[in-house]
Symmetry: C2
Amino acid sequence: MVERDNRTNDGDGAGRQTVVSIDAMGGDAGPAAVVAGIAAAMRDRPGLHVLLHGREAELSPLLARTPALAGRVTLCDAPGIVTMSDKPAHVMRHGRETSMWRTIDAVREGRATAAVSCGNTGALMGIAMLRLRRLEGINRPAIASLWPSRNPGGFNVMLDMGADVRADPEDLVQYAVMGAAYAHTGLGIARPRVGLLNVGTEENKGRSELREAGELLAARAATGGFDYVGFVEGLDLPSSRVDVIVTDGFTGNVALKTAEGTARLFADFLREAFGAGVLSRFAALLALNSLRRLRRRIDPRRVNGGVFLGLTGTVVKSHGGADETAIAAAIGLAYRLAAAGLSERIAARVASVRASGQDEPQGRPGADAGKESGFSG
Amino acid sequence: MVERDNRTNDGDGAGRQTVVSIDAMGGDAGPAAVVAGIAAAMRDRPGLHVLLHGREAELSPLLARTPALAGRVTLCDAPGIVTMSDKPAHVMRHGRETSMWRTIDAVREGRATAAVSCGNTGALMGIAMLRLRRLEGINRPAIASLWPSRNPGGFNVMLDMGADVRADPEDLVQYAVMGAAYAHTGLGIARPRVGLLNVGTEENKGRSELREAGELLAARAATGGFDYVGFVEGLDLPSSRVDVIVTDGFTGNVALKTAEGTARLFADFLREAFGAGVLSRFAALLALNSLRRLRRRIDPRRVNGGVFLGLTGTVVKSHGGADETAIAAAIGLAYRLAAAGLSERIAARVASVRASGQDEPQGRPGADAGKESGFSG
């Protein structure tokens, strides 16, 4: 692990600071939305300090216009910008001068505990993996997202949402461990319940590699710090019978975007329903507060922020299309996870699962078998 | 192809009959809901005749109570019932006496053009494949579902929704051909636009087998009777830039159930929003018509009915939890597809794509490479 600035290691106690490194460039809404998001995130987080990376000429006037940020944001000039169309491989070779690279490097160098960017996901993942390295024992880092749910806390954790399009059974076990640590740290769930996404809940369902992963999860749950509840299906993603849903990055990404598309369609239909006819419009007026409450509950911006897990540092990826509210939510999440030491917790948990796995009498079933072939079963 | 009853071969013209074979048993709501669904479906379909399979002792009283069905429903006694927990392999070996088996066999024997069941999907698929056989040239039959969309017709077609958990590039091309024929016949779209589900729309995204399938789809679109629009992602499932979405059965099943789960969560939130406070409840009363209209648009029962494509006969799988409305919708769909000769159209289309594929100068790229390894890329 890299050394950390003392200020950032002590959590979120009185008078202590947690430094978050933020990429001002690369989001669709531009740096003004990022600066506004920082101001919003700082309002009720006195311990938050920000290193802001981007073009000084653009950022200085924005900061000057927001006096509340004075003394709490350190501007770090970076001439280059990673665009959404840049190839990750290209950025990883030639991107040292970009704001994204500098944002990650501040974490590597211990000047910040967490990083936030709205930019190109592939490039961010590539830079993060290159500069922060994987936690020992992690094969594939993963992106975890919060999913609206019927649980008391209002959210479930789901991973991988697209860091890698394939995952073998052993990777899925690591996702479970990381997701459980995230649910523990981020959502305060003492012993998260983990489910494995499949096309049905019966034990004989789905691809053979999922059945194998299910057996591994049952065996490793105790040392992994979670309870394994078995297979879950798409209907269960918002379910209160599970806290963490584990899947490969292809399936997770399709599910995430499918739910987003469904929510948007539903919102459009709702708007049309209440826009049709005088009586409906009057009703909508009367129900304004109810409709606003509903919008808040399903607002994807509130759950904005995929978290890269499995790296020696916490990286929060905000939506490319994120606005001020969404960016503030992502920064708030990064702050919370950094202050609680998420990476350290994951490292400790993975180490104990590895230790217990080596004690398993017949070795680790399927640990390496599927590595090259991914989903070949 | 099996010989068909003359009555069923002539489409839906004046005075002509289309016979649909229906499994009365195996659904959660029981045979009473099936009989009520038949009555609802018959109301505006004078050409519909039904062969109803199940326990005569249970069905006779139900039919006697519904005089409108007299002379239009032929009762076929079957002593056995396939339950939701029965293993498909067991049913395929020992299920000859079940209502599900008899329902399919009526299509095999030409006494009906289409079949409908609310029972065990795996068993229904197994029996259908065993008794009806695949259309020549089809490797994997698929389940297609209608998806609420922003298109003028209100629906997109998506497949495979779970007939098979894996599909290689050549299978995905066949899904495209079958889905396009279904969109043409079922939704009246002259030249359906087909998209391939992936984690992004850029050509370099996703698993290598999807990039290969994309190249095949571009090459075969002309003879397949569709336009290929490239990769689509989860957000695009309700999109108006596509009519047919092609994916493997694992991903399709997860997406379908994720969307259902999201819609249910949204509906719960809406109910809670309008249940909170006197003003909101009064508003809900005023907006009753709007809310009802909304419920109809997102009601999964309206789009109930997965269709098995690629078999020598049309089989419609209704939700296990289907009620009278949902069962009526499934029967209506079976009737429409049967009257229009969907299987014959698919057979013709697949034959011409095969013929054109054999003319491709460098052979059929990847036609057999991935067959054994599935998603191994």
